[in-house]
């Protein structure tokens, strides 16, 4: 067992248990904090996979900006914990059964039907160097220039949409 495998196993334990804590937490603030832990763990996975730029984007955009927005809305609405409603009592066992089936099915497919010999090794100094980042930027701004610009338009549309949705119309009675 190499040290890399040990790091992987410990991190995946943290990732899975924080995801479990997220979906089972009673309080929405705790769920959001568990999700921050999960995102940071996935960022460390990206570092292990030789993607330092994506790891830093993950921490700043996901664990930083998006989760702060979530926490802000949770506290603004006072939606920390809602009263449990059991309109469909059979829904929860059925959902857990279906999720177990989905997990077993995908593990079966990966391990039995589509088993590959490919390995991922920890990145060396060359992978994390500045030249590598420059190479990625060259591809992003040449080969993927159109998707990049479309993404910027999408972000603009989302910003305008969010402002229009929450705007108070003058004189409107609520």
């Amino acid at each position: 067992m190499t040290s890399e495998l040990i790091v992987f196993l410990v991190l995946s334990l943290v990732a899975v248990s924080s995801a479990l804590g997220m979906i089972s937490g009673r309080n929405a603030v705790y769920s959001a904090l568990f999700l921050v832990l999960n995102f940071v763990t996935v960022a460390v996975f990206y570092l292990l996979l030789g993607a330092p730029f994506i790891a830093m984007s993950q921490i700043t955009v996901y664990a930083g900006a998006i989760m702060v927005l979530f926490l802000f809305v949770i506290m603004l609405l006072g939606a920390e914990s809602l009263a449990p409603a059991n309109l469909l009592p059979w829904q929860r066992p059925l959902a857990i059964l279906l999720a177990v089936i989905l997990a077993v099915e995908s593990i079966y497919l990966v391990f039995v039907r589509a088993r590959s010999d490919a390995f991922v090794a920890a990145p060396d100094a060359a992978v994390n160097s500045m030249d590598n980042l420059r190479e990625m930027a060259m591809i992003l701004f040449n080969q993927f220039l159109l998707p990049f610009e479309v993404t910027s338009v999408l972000l603009l549309v989302a910003m305008v949409g969010a402002i229009v949705l929450t705007k108070q119309v003058k004189g409107e009675k609520r």
Binding site: E4, S12, A28, F45, A85, M136
Partner: protein
Amino acid sequence: MVPVDYYIILSAILFTLGALGVLIRRNPLIIFMSIELMLNAGNLAFVAFGRSYEITKGELFFNGQIFVFFVIAVAAAEVAVGLALIVEIFKTRKNINIDEMNSLKG
């Protein structure tokens, strides 16, 4: 050296937990967080496959990482609009229980 299969299994488990969260929770904010978890699981699989291809071919390969970059940007846009919708629903109904959101017109 970690087999790429392990990363794919981890990604599948995280995706399943996200789907389970969408199915069993009644708080729309937690359902939203579960969707983020599923997007994240997909991103992990993309980066793992990209790295595996890079090692197998022995050359630089960034398409997986660039796709993840776009997914992160789209997720940010999605969260901005979705949270604005939730705030607006709360303002008109004073309640955000998902079981009571059964009509489009507020």
